[in-house]
């Protein structure tokens, strides 16, 4: 940004020099040339795909027949607001799917509200611990980071065994809970799994943030006679605010899109207790015998919108509560 601002007046005053201009243009051309391969991939696999999905969200499409224009009907069926109104016992069946409004959305919001704070706090504590001069610090760091580099499918399978009725968790705590088959517990099991896998990465990010804080500030604080708690409260946490914003945002997006653990562990069951928005999109698009590709596409855009809104709200909160500006 700063560069263009300072360059512009120079260009304006030196209008005459065409050699300069040509050089500039050929430089730009070279830049585009280097960008081209990625740009091509980006355009076909991202921009085009999103555009096509947007078109599909206004159609009725089951993959077997060509898409048929439907207008906003797909969005109406996804939202299915009629399902929230009281209905007579013998009323004709609704022509829409209330799984999103009644199960997937509440589940996903609940999941996000529990997982994001938990994993943020936990990884922050871990990062503080790892920032101290502990023995075997590197070993611990590796151990905490290990789940993050392991495939989520593998970890999910390990968790299926850990949390099976006769598994280690029940044996260790002397419980008799059918974790993954009981609608009361299944979702919490997946939450535990997710906190377990992501905390390592977030810890690493916090750790980088902690080590980025200049020691001069700490030294100044100690000269002023600040105690440990005051240092944490008035220096470390405010200085970490941009990192917190990043961690919360990434966590938020990840939580709203949680899919693979559910696909592997519960397939949305038992009794839809673990059906999330992302899983519902997959279910509509590929799992059902009546493929609802249009509806699934519509839900994808609704999900993107929800994530956007939540990110903006959260940005307001984090920026509003302190003076640390651009994150």
């Amino acid at each position: 940004m700063a560069e263009t601002v300072s360059n512009r007046p120079v260009g304006l005053f030196r209008q005459g020099s065409s050699a300069e201009k040509r050089k500039k243009r050929s430089e730009a051309l070279t830049a585009y040339l280097f960008l081209l391969p990625y740009l091509f991939i980006f355009l076909t696999f991202t921009v085009f795909s999103i555009g096509y999905a947007f078109y599909l969200s206004f159609t009725r499409y089951n993959l077997l027949r060509p898409p048929e224009w439907w207008g906003l009907e797909g969005y109406r069926r996804v939202l299915c607001l009629e399902a929230l109104l009281p209905r007579a016992e013998d009323a004709p069946p609704l022509a829409c799917d209330d799984l999103f409004i009644k199960k997937a959305l509440p589940n996903t919001v609940k999941y996000t509200l529990i997982v994001v704070p938990t994993q943020t706090v936990l990884s922050l504590i871990l990062a503080f611990a790892m920032d101290q001069k502990l023995r075997f610090r590197r070993l611990f760091r590796t151990i905490y980071y290990l789940p993050s580099v392991t495939s989520s499918v593998v970890i999910s399978l390990i968790f299926v065994w850990l949390f099976s009725p006769l598994g280690i968790v029940n044996q260790l705590f002397n419980l008799n809970i059918n974790w993954l088959n009981d609608p009361r517990y299944a979702f919490y099991t997946i939450m535990i799994l997710n906190v377990f896998t992501t905390s390592g990465t977030l810890m690493l990010i916090f750790l980088a943030g902690l080590q980025d804080i200049p020691t001069a500030i700490y030294e100044a604080a100690s000269i002023d006679g600040a105690n440990k708690f005051q240092v944490l409260r008035f220096i470390t946490i405010p200085m970490l605010r941009p990192v917190v914003f990043f961690v919360v945002t990434v966590g938020l997006i990840g939580c709203f899109q949680v899919f693979d653990q559910i696909y592997v562990m519960t397939s949305g069951g038992p009794l839809d207790s673990t059906t999330t928005v992302a899983y519902l999109i997959y279910k509509w698009a590929f799992r059902d015998t009546t493929v609802k590709m249009g509806q699934a596409a519509a839900l994808s855009f609704i999900l993107a919108l929800i994530i956007l809104v939540f990110t903006l709200i959260q940005r307001r909160i984090i920026e509003g509560s302190g003076s640390v500006g651009s994150a």
Partner: protein, 443 residues
């Protein structure tokens, strides 16, 4: 250097652009190929003998790959076919992973194989959307007769008197029972003539909940429960699939009988003993009886070789016999360029010779009536019981277009009864209402 770069850059851009355009430009070369074949056909008329080997019809064949052994067997049968039919090239392209997702996306992009597996459960949608080629004329040309196949199977792959697929194999449910547990409890082993009462009495005598042993597996599985509805004279869907009968008295009664096994602790679901599938529980000797298909036989042989078990057809209910048929057919795509060659491939794969090979390998049951008296079935009573199941009041595992929704709701209805203690009639009513909503959605 500068001038070189000046020329080089646009050239690179141009070449990249051209490369990028290639996929889009592919229809043109395709057209060229077509005209060439037309010319060749003309030549064929003149010199039949010489030109024939030059234009071999290509038939692409796809299915899921159930196991490496099964794939190897299919490939060996295909090899025999190629030897006998030098004018046809069969390209076998098995799909690993999610078969239906990949098949449907390949249909959406118009690159589906000529011949592919079709599960009866998915059949209605493919017929309605006119993906499948009617094959009656091709069958007549190739000399394939409907009468040669088990009627309930070939009928399952027909719609409005039109045949769309040749059943390749099938499975039904049998009552698998653990002979050792029966001997221990001093209960007489089941026979084909058992009824619901016998089943209940035996389950009571066999169960020992304190030691995690239960008489009967009663999973919340839409692939097991419906046979009880059939045996009680009911049905899951109406004849034309326009409505569900899941909340009819016959279905509610059947569900009560089914779920009471667990309620009275003489039956259980696999999750109760920490498993996902009751086949494993049966192998471990914790369920004395389970309703499973022929797929359990090779599984037990591999995982639990020491188990001593038998199989009979499912016990009859108050209204007689009832069973489910799981079946898969070979179908031809409407877009196939070589439907005749495709039909010849299918005919070979479902011929008596090929099916005998499959039968003897123990993977699946043959769909041809003539193999009913095959030696293999006589010496393998377990497979024989599964085969007999198709001939006694069995109905295909298909619930119309909303099949997966019906399955899901049936499973949930049972789960609600099991896990949330909901009343049977209320749970089935709730399921039926959702199914009606789904049917309304499809219309």
């Amino acid at each position: 250097m500068k001038t070189l770069l000046k020329w080089f850059v646009p050239l690179m851009v141009l070449s990249l652009l051209l490369a990028a355009c290639q996929p889009a430009a592919s229809p043109t070369p395709e057209k060229v190929i077509e005209t060439v074949t037309v010319e060749k056909e003309k030549e064929v008329v003149k010199t039949v003998e010489v030109e024939k080997p030059a234009e071999r019809a290509v038939v692409r064949l796809s299915g899921w790959a159930a196991s490496p052994e099964e794939t190897a067997l299919l490939q060996s049968i295909l090899l025999d076919f190629t030897v006998e039919n030098p004018d046809i090239v069969v390209k076998y392209e098995p799909i690993t992973g999610d078969y239906w997702q990949q098949l449907k996306t390949s249909i959406a992009s118009g690159v589906e194989p000529d011949v592919f597996y079709m599960d009866i459960f998915q059949f209605p949608a493919f017929v309605r959307d006119e993906v499948l080629l009617p094959i009656d004329d091709l069958m007549a040309k190739e000399g394939v007769k409907r009468d040669d196949f088990i009627p309930s199977l070939i009928d399952a792959f027909s719609d409005g008197g039109v045949t769309y697929g040749i059943p390749k194999d099938f499975n039904t449910l049998g009552l698998f029972y653990n002979k050792d547990l029966f001997a221990q409890a001093g209960v007489a082993e089941p026979t084909d003539d058992w009824t619901w009462d016998d089943l209940k009495t035996a389950a009571e005598a066999l169960s020992d909940p304190a030691n995690n042993i239960y008489g009967l597996g009663v999973p919340a599985d839409p692939g097991r429960f419906p046979i009880f509805v059939f045996q009680n004279g009911g049905s899951i869907m109406t004849e034309d699939y326009s409505d569900t009968l899941l909340d009819s008295p016959a279905a509610v009664e059947a569900a009560t009988f089914y779920t009471d096994f667990r309620k009275n602790q003489i039956g259980a679901i696999p999750a109760d003993v920490g498993e996902g599938w009751q086949g494993t529980v049966f192998g471990k000797g914790q369920f004395a009886m389970v309703y499973e298909g022929g797929w359990l036989i090779p599984y037990l042989k591999q995982q639990f070789p020491n188990i001593n078990y038998g199989v009979v057809t499912p016990p009859a209910g108050p209204k007689g016999e009832g069973n489910l048929i799981f079946t898969v057919a070979y179908v031809i795509s409407r877009n196939s360029k070589n439907p005749e060659a495709a039909m010849r491939v299918i005919n070979y794969l479902t011929s008596e010779k090929a099916q005998t090979k499959v039968l003897e390998s123990g993977f699946a049951l043959p769909t041809r009536l003539s193999l009913q008296s095959n030696e293999y079935l006589k010496t393998n009573p377990a497979s024989s019981a599964i085969f007999r199941g198709a001939l006694q009041g069995a109905r295909p595992f298909v619930w119309g277009l909303v099949g997966s929704d019906v399955n899901e709701q049936m499973g949930k209805a049972l789960e609600r009864i099991y896990l949330e203690n909901q009343a049977v009639d209320a749970s089935l009513k709730q399921a039926a209402q959702v199914i009606r909503q789904k049917i309304a959605e499809v219309k």
